[in-house]
């Protein structure tokens, strides 16, 4: 496993909920990342975020790690959940709330 892959594995396994995104939750740099943050904020769960614009290795590495070509990417309990389209679809179906509850994710502080 490459260094980048082990760094990514550490991040996804070390946080119950983590979003790989462009920009930060306060200043998303892309509409899709912004939408993903809006969903997480609406769910009211505690989450970590990684700004891929600050780290070229992770920006490229996460795409092969997840076999997913775009950012944002959501991980819950070490499992890849999807990008912003899947997040929206699951949110609208009530499935994302259910996933967070089942994963016993902490509410946002």
């Amino acid at each position: 496993m490459s260094d980048t892959n082990s760094r990514i594995a550490e991040i996804v396994n070390g946080n119950d909920v983590v979003l790989f995104m462009k920009g930060t939750p306060l200043f998303p740099q892309c509409g899709f990342s912004s939408r993903a943050i809006a969903i997480l904020d609406h769910l009211g769960v505690e989450y970590a975020s990684v700004d891929v614009l600050q780290d070229m290795d992770i920006r490229q590495g996460i795409k092969s790690f997840s076999d997913w070509p775009t950012i944002p990417q959501l991980y819950v309990k070490g499992e890849f959940v999807g990008g912003s389209d899947i997040m929206m679809e699951m949110f609208e179906a009530g499935e994302l709330q259910q996933l967070m509850t089942e994963a016993e994710v902490k509410p946002a502080a």
Binding site: F32, T70, V81, D85, I86, M90
Partner: protein, 77 residues
């Protein structure tokens, strides 16, 4: 520069011949699209796996040449 809606639909149909593909040009700029793809190939697959099939059909263009494609997938009724 982005891709034409017809090219996107053609690439998806080439990989998933039964697919019904509906492309909407969201901003009218040939760069921001929404695609709805219905195919029996999605049956029994997770959402992630369904989207991965479409991304593979687009042969690496997704996230590069094709920046903004909102994707929804479904199995035929």
């Amino acid at each position: 520069m982005g891709m034409a809606a017809d090219d996107i639909a053609a690439m998806i149909r080439a990989a998933l011949p039964d697919a019904e593909v509906e492309i909407t040009d969201l901003a009218g700029d040939g760069d921001h699209y929404a695609a709805h793809v219905v195919s029996a190939a999605f049956a029994g697959k997770s959402r992630v796996a369904q989207h991965q099939l479409v991304y593979k059909a687009l042969g690496g263009r997704m996230g590069g040449e094709l920046h903004a494609l909102q994707l929804t997938t479904a199995v035929p009724n």
